[in-house]
Amino acid sequence: MEIIEHPPIFRLPGVFWPGYVPDHVTYTWLVMIILTVLAFVASRRVELVPRGAQNALEVVLEQFQQLIDDVIGHEGRPYLPLIATLGLFILTGNLLALVPGLAGPTTNLNTTAACALVVFCAYHYIGIRKHGPITYLKHFMGPVPWWLKGPMFVIEMISHLARPLSLTLRLFGNMLGGHILLAMMFFLMGLDGLIGWALSGSAAGVVLGGLGGGLMVAFTVGFIYPLKILVSFLQAFIFVMLTMLYISGAVEGHEAEHH
């Protein structure tokens, strides 16, 4: 992995061990600081007619609430803090990785696995608290005849265990894949690539390398960066959406399958 990773501009030295604090830990703390400061600034003087930061954050949270009302229904309102926190954390982490010189926490498998495990534990806890353990276990068997209930239970168990895996790998793979693409572009441009050829001083290098390097810069800035910003928003949205679907499946229980 060391080939494609670059050290970010800011690293914390480890206190209890030699070397550095892992980058995803450092930048998870940076995301936490950003979100905390944002929330503090927005809620420092809460007004009835919001202005500035309070207005902006209220719009964002109202979007989350709208989404929850659409997917889970009104009984999903209590889960707004969980869902909005996950969404804002993942979105900020994704966007942080796009700033040159910083590292993104979501490009590391540990961060995404932690988020997915939180979702996994949360929706089972919500389901058990809503229906009680026996009813909740029964809804894994589904609306099938009695002789199908055993195999159905096993299949449902496997599908539920696959959920955190797919949540983890989808976010991680999308983010890291985009970064590898960017790294490839920068290697093509870099000092042993087109720009290096242009800087080498030969006439052909100046013409072809300069032209190719310029094209590559335009392609990266004009196409790959907007694409990655879109993917950042989309992956945060999909993570939140799937979380809401899982919670709604756990809350509805087995009444939902009849209508």
């Binding site: 992995m1 494609i4 989808r170 999308n174």
Partner: protein
């Protein structure tokens, strides 16, 4: 004269072999190493190609449905995005496997 030419030829032919041997020793590489590169590239090609076919079918059906019922466009779009994410994750699995094969190299 001829003997020195033969020696020079042997030296020229031998140097890359030595270089390869040194490189191989540095990578501690067996013969599996190159095949992991081929496997990662071929696997990613197959996975992304078939994933593109699947996503194309899904988007075509969703756009058709949106054309028939423009009122339900928002809900169809949400369902389409979730479906696309689920389809795409299959190709993402292959991407992760490819990354592991190329950069982590569990089998050399």
């Amino acid at each position: 004269m001829r003997r020195s030419l033969i020696r020079a030829g042997m030296a020229v032919l031998g140097v890359p072999a030595l270089a390869f041997a040194a490189e191989g020793a540095a990578n501690s590489g067996g013969w599996i190493g190159p095949f992991t590169v081929i496997a990662a590239g071929l696997g990613m090609a197959i996975a992304s190609g078939l994933c593109g076919l699947g996503q194309g079918r899904a988007v075509a059906a969703a756009v058709e449905a949106m054309g028939r019922q423009p009122g339900a466009a928002a809900r169809i779009q949400t369902a389409m995005i979730i479906g696309l994410a689920l389809i795409e994750s299959l190709a993402i699995y292959m991407l992760v496997i490819g990354i592991i094969l190329l950069f982590v190299q569990p089998i050399k």
